[in-house]
Amino acid sequence: MSEDLFGSPVLAQVVGVPVTAGMVGSAVVTVAVLALAGWLGRAAVHRPTSAPAAAARLLVGFLQGVARDGAGRDVPALTVFGGTLFVFVAGSALYGQLPGVRAPTADLAVASALALVVFVAVPVAGVWVRGPIGYLRHYLEGGVLLAPIEVISELSRTLALALRLFGNMMSGHLVVGLLVSLVGLLVPVPLMALDLAIGLIQAYIFTILACVYVGAAIQVEETA
């Protein structure tokens, strides 16, 4: 096993900062997603009856549904947040299917960065919607004794979020790599398809979990 499973190879040093394959991959995915989004958006505005416009509306409708399922109600900002996570993670899974590259999310650093984004977004959204006092009070809802456990659960679910994404993407890559080195022709194809399906499902899972976490933080008490 020559390949480093947990990090990604350093391709170059730019002013002393190492540039890894994961960073290049994320940049490529980001540019591709932005270009696609710009194209779809322009099509939706200028040619509302064309096929790309329909695809754009389907995608946005799907992302709205995911955010609504996660948060329990329609929050436009959450749709944007969750949708961004979804297209990036799904785009990474598609990028990982290209020959010779790994999905950026199969790099522990990128997966951890995504989980950290969610970790930071939860208190930011909570304070934004409910105010600092209102947000901090939800730690005490279960009683003072449970407050530390609440904090620990926020840390552990961030770790789980990162490891789940990383583990799924990396293990798919590993299985395909092992099979290619053993058999090579045609046999790895079904597992590559499985890897692609798992990547897209993980994008969905990651998004819906992020929406659930943020949605729980911005839950306004219904009881009057």
């Binding site: 789940r164 990383f166 799924n168 293990s171 899972i205």
Partner: protein
């Protein structure tokens, strides 16, 4: 056997154990989830799309425990901090 050999043997055994038990638990949980979902779909065929989506989410959550075991096993095998 010197210390490094003991650590290597223990790591390989640990990786095998962690992967075996990790996969065991996840498979048990997934089979229960699958049977419950099939049961629910058989009772409510109209809701099958909704049920299948929720099943996939739950499946991935259960799967992640096996993935954690896999990550630990791979750390033991390929990135072991105790192998000098």
């Amino acid at each position: 056997m010197n210390d490094q050999t003991v650590i290597a043997v223990a790591s390989i055994l640990g990786a095998a154990l962690v992967m075996g038990f990790g996969a065991f638990g996840a498979a048990l949980g997934e089979s229960r989830l699958g049977s419950a979902a099939m049961d629910a779909i058989a009772r409510q065929p109209d809701e099958s799309a909704n049920l299948a989506r929720n099943m996939l989410v739950a499946l991935a959550m259960i799967e992640s425990t096996a993935i954690f075991a896999l990550v630990i096993a791979l750390v033991l095998l390929f990135a072991n901090p105790f192998v000098g």
